[in-house]
C-alpha cells in the first residue's frame, strides 16, 4: 500500500514530537492505544489562562499513518480553544491525509487522543469533561 505524500511528509518530518511534564500547569495528557494493531499514541496539550492551546506534543508508537495522524493533530491543535479542539473529527484527518480505509482506525486513535488530552486538562483544572471514545467516531 502506498502512503500519500502528506503522510510521508509527516512521517519523515514529524511536527511537535516530544512531551511535556505531566504535572506541569496547563498540561493535559492523553494516552490511547489500539490493542489489535499494538499502536500507542500519547498526545499532550498545553493550555493557557485564556483557554487557548498554546502548544501540543505527541509520541506515537505505530505505523506511518498513526504517526502522521498525531503529528497533524498537534499542528491543528495549536491556537485552538478547548471546544474547537474537541470539535476535530477523525474524518477531518482522513480527508487531509487521504488515508485509505484500512488506516482509518489511526485517525480514530488521534481523535480519541485529542479528547483524552483535553479532558485530562479539564479534569485537572476541575472543569466538567466530555465523553471519550463513546463510539461516535467513525
Amino acid at each position: 500500500m502506498a502512503y500519500s505524500d502528506k503522510v510521508l511528509d509527516h512521517y519523515n518530518n514529524p511536527r511537535n514530537m516530544g512531551s511535556f511534564g505531566k504535572e506541569e500547569d496547563g498540561v493535559g495528557t492523553g494516552i490511547v492505544g489500539a490493542p489489535e494493531c499494538g499502536d500507542v499514541m500519547k498526545l499532550q496539550v498545553k493550555i493557557n489562562d485564556d483557554g487557548i492551546i498554546e502548544d501540543a506534543k505527541f509520541k506515537t508508537f505505530g505505523c506511518g499513518s498513526a504517526i502522521a495522524s498525531s503529528s497533524l493533530a498537534t499542528e491543528w491543535l495549536k491556537g485552538r480553544t478547548v471546544d474547537q479542539a474537541l470539535a476535530i473529527k477523525n474524518t477531518d484527518i482522513v480527508e487531509e491525509l487521504n488515508l485509505p480505509p484500512v488506516k482509518i482506525h489511526c485517525s480514530v486513535l488521534a481523535e480519541d487522543a485529542i479528547k483524552a488530552a483535553v479532558n485530562d486538562f479539564l479534569n485537572r483544572s476541575g472543569k466538567p469533561t466530555q465523553a471519550v471514545g463513546d463510539g461516535s467516531a467513525s
Partner: protein, 233 residues
C-alpha cells in the same frame, strides 16, 4: 481411512470415521462452527498443555494429511483437505497465547472480546522507553555513512555507538520478555479459578486485558527486532 477418528465438523457429533453417522453424509465444513478446543480434544480454558496440543496436532495431521488420501474419492479428499486446513488454522490459534485467549473469550461470551482504548499501565513505561530508543537509533542510522568496503563494514561492527544501541535494544527486549512471562503466569493463576462460576466474569475481563498486553508487546518486539536488523546492515 476407516481408522480416522475425528469429530465430525459438519454436525458436531463425536468420533465418526470417514463418514458421519450423525448426519449420514459428507458435509462441507462450516468454518464458523468449528471449535478448535474440541477439534484437538482439549478443555476450553485459559491455560493449555502445550505438549498435549503438539502431540494431538501431530497425530491428527498424520492421519489427515491430504497426501495420505490421494487415492480416495473426490468428496472425501475435499473433506480431508478442509479438515486439514482447520487443523493448521486451529493449531496456530491455540499455540499462540494471545490468539488462544481471545478465541476462548470469544467462544465463552459469544462475542468478540472488547478492546480497551486505555493502554495497560504495566507496559506504559516500557513503551515510552522503546519509543525514545527507536528515535535515537533512527538518528544514528541517518548519520551513519554506508561502508565503502568490507573492511570498513567490519570495522564499523565495533563502532561504540552501534554497540550501545544494540545493548539497549537487548535490554528492552529482555524486559518485554519478562512482561510476557508475567502475563503467562497470571493466565495460569486465572486458570486455577476458572471453574468457579462466580469468578468467571472477572476472569474473562482480565483475560481480554492480558491479551491486549500481549498484542502491544508483540508490536514492541517487532519494532526492536526491525531496528536491530537495520543496525546490522
Amino acid at each position: 481411512m476407516n481408522e480416522i477418528k475425528v469429530k465430525c465438523l459438519g454436525c458436531g457429533s463425536l468420533e465418526k470415521g470417514d463418514f458421519c453417522g450423525g448426519c449420514h453424509t459428507i458435509l462441507p465444513i462450516d468454518h464458523d462452527e468449528v471449535d478448535f478446543f474440541q477439534l484437538f480434544d482439549l478443555e476450553p480454558r485459559p491455560a493449555l498443555d502445550r505438549e498435549l496440543l503438539d502431540q494431538r496436532f501431530l497425530e491428527l495431521s498424520r492421519k489427515l494429511h491430504p497426501d495420505r488420501h490421494t487415492a480416495e474419492g473426490s468428496d472425501l479428499r475435499l473433506k480431508v483437505l478442509s479438515i486439514s486446513a482447520e487443523l493448521n488454522h486451529g493449531y496456530r490459534i491455540l499455540a499462540d497465547t494471545k490468539e488462544r485467549v481471545r478465541y476462548l473469550v470469544g467462544k465463552v461470551t459469544d462475542q468478540e472480546p472488547a478492546e480497551a482504548k486505555q493502554v495497560p499501565p504495566e507496559m506504559m513505561e516500557l513503551f515510552f522507553e522503546v519509543h525514545d530508543l527507536m528515535g535515537e537509533a533512527d538518528a544514528y542510522l541517518k548519520q551513519r555513512k554506508p561502508a565503502a568496503s568490507r573492511i570498513e563494514a567490519a570495522l564499523s561492527m565495533s563502532d561504540s555507538g552501534r554497540r550501545e544501541l544494540r545493548e539497549r535494544i537487548n535490554a528492552l527486549r529482555q524486559r518485554g520478555n519478562e512482561t510476557v512471562a508475567r502475563v503467562e503466569q497470571e493466565i495460569t493463576q486465572l486458570d486455577a479459578a476458572w471453574d468457579d462460576s462466580a469468578e468467571r466474569p472477572r476472569i474473562l475481563e482480565r483475560l481480554s486485558r492480558l491479551a491486549d498486553v500481549l498484542s502491544y508487546m508483540g508490536r514492541l518486539r517487532g519494532s526492536l527486532d526491525d531496528k536491530e536488523l537495520k543496525l546490522e546492515m
